[in-house]
């Protein structure tokens, strides 16, 4: 039951993009078309699941037992960077078509707030292993939902007559704000 709450919370109520503001940098760049957005979302979800597992292990097997929690930030970011490198190399070898589909987004993901954000939030909320994994996957699904929604709207916006100052990031942010407002309607569905 608790896992279901974590899932719904991460996807809808406390969506990583619309509530935690994470994942905006690549979001503004990539989310113009639905296709690449789905690929980006898949890549992020994959990396998030791996990050959830590894950050939990580092935190609970190394940092906390040896009192090294001041090394949390450094160790998390290094592991994430290494993970993304490995994943990129692995995908390129194992499945070139998959690499074509989503591999190019992987370097962008390293400095993506979503990944580091997940590691930090899961650690702050003190989730156990299973909860962290569910949190990670749910966050990825929430992120994918967010950017696909944005891409769908932005595809339509391309055809609209947007005033010059608003074009690009400004209208994207305002759109995000309106979607965020809509997502607030999901608060309180867990009673």
């Amino acid at each position: 039951m608790n896992l279901l709450i974590i899932f719904i919370s991460a996807v809808l109520i406390n969506n990583f993009v619309f509530y935690y503001f994470l994942g905006l940098c690549p979001y503004l760049g990539v989310s113009r078309k639905i296709g690449p957005s789905i690929s980006m979302g898949m890549a992020v979800t994959f990396v998030l699941s791996l990050t959830a597992v590894s950050s939990w292990m580092i935190n609970h097997w190394i940092l906390i037992p040896y009192g090294l929690d001041y090394l949390q930030i450094v160790s998390f970011i290094l592991v994430i960077a290494a993970l993304v490198q490995l994943v990129e190399m692995f995908i390129r070898k194992v499945s070139p078509p998959l690499y074509q589909a989503m591999g190019i987004y992987l370097p962008l993901i390293t400095t993506n707030c979503v990944i580091m954000g997940l590691a930090l939030l899961a650690a702050m909320k003190n989730y156990n292993f299973l909860e962290t994994v569910v949190f990670g996957v749910s966050a990825g699904i929430g992120f994918t939902l967010a950017i696909v929604l944005m891409a769908a709207i932005r595809e339509q916006l391309e055809l609209a007559d947007v005033p010059r100052p608003l074009r690009g990031a400004a209208i994207a942010l305002i759109t995000a704000g309106i979607i965020s407002l809509a997502f607030m309607g999901f608060s309180g569905i867990i009673k």
């Binding site: 503001f21 930030i73 970011i77 290094l78 993506n112 702050m124 100052p165 608003l166 965020s180 607030m184």
Partner: protein
């Protein structure tokens, strides 16, 4: 392409407006949106980012000739992460209320595109002094945008600035300003206005 030598003044000023990291380069948006709901949070974050950016740029520029190309990103990340850790620990130790209010966003400075972006684009290619000035200018631009957002959001959403009530009871607070949608829309508007001003400046330059 020949690079015109910028004066120190220009190096500093460019971060405040023409190359403002938030409104022009669209970097560091996550943090600006998250902590601009109250001016005091904005000040704390601004100081933290300035601290990390200035010291990281300083160190990166200092070691730029020693670090081999292949490991530079890894080294930069470690340097940046160290300063972020210091900022986070100091905040948690001496300002626990603020630290709690900021949540994960101070540690998230480590992935703030501004810091790594400046290290890559500038500090690793320039001498120490210009790198410091560049860092200060970029921080300044960041802080200005953050404070502007903070003032507007706190004033309209809570009637207060820095916790002190400014608007009277006659004003019904726009609570949405304190919530995520308000942040998104406000930042979008600020970027739009900054674009607009930039267009006007360019137009004026074209006319003799």
């Amino acid at each position: 392409m020949t690079m015109a030598q910028k004066t120190i003044g220009q190096e500093f000023f460019k971060g405040l407006w023409p190359e403002n990291p938030v409104t022009r380069q669209l970097l560091g948006l996550c943090s600006v949106l998250a902590v601009s709901n109250a001016v005091i949070n904005g000040i704390a974050m601004g100081l933290a980012v300035t601290f990390v950016l200035v010291f990281s740029s300083f160190l990166v520029s200092l070691v730029r000739k020693i670090v081999p190309n292949q490991v530079r990103i890894a080294s930069f990340i470690v340097i940046i992460a160290s300063f972020v850790t210091i900022a986070d620990r100091v905040l948690a130790a001496y300002f626990p209320q603020l630290s709690k209010a900021m949540g994960p966003y101070v540690p998230l400075i480590v992935v703030n595109c501004i810091i790594l972006g400046r290290a890559e684009a500038f500090a690793s290619k320039n001498k120490v002094w210009p790198s410091l000035i560049d860092a200060l200018g970029m921080s300044g631009g960041y802080v200005l945008t953050l404070l502007l957002m903070g003032f507007i959001r706190e004033l309209l959403g809570n009637r207060t600035i820095l916790g002190a009530q400014i608007l009277g009871q006659w004003f019904e607070p726009w609570v949405v300003m304190l919530l995520p949608p308000g942040a998104f829309i406000m930042l979008g508007l600020i970027i739009a206005i900054s674009n607009f001003i930039e267009f006007k400046i360019k137009e004026r330059r074209r006319q003799p």
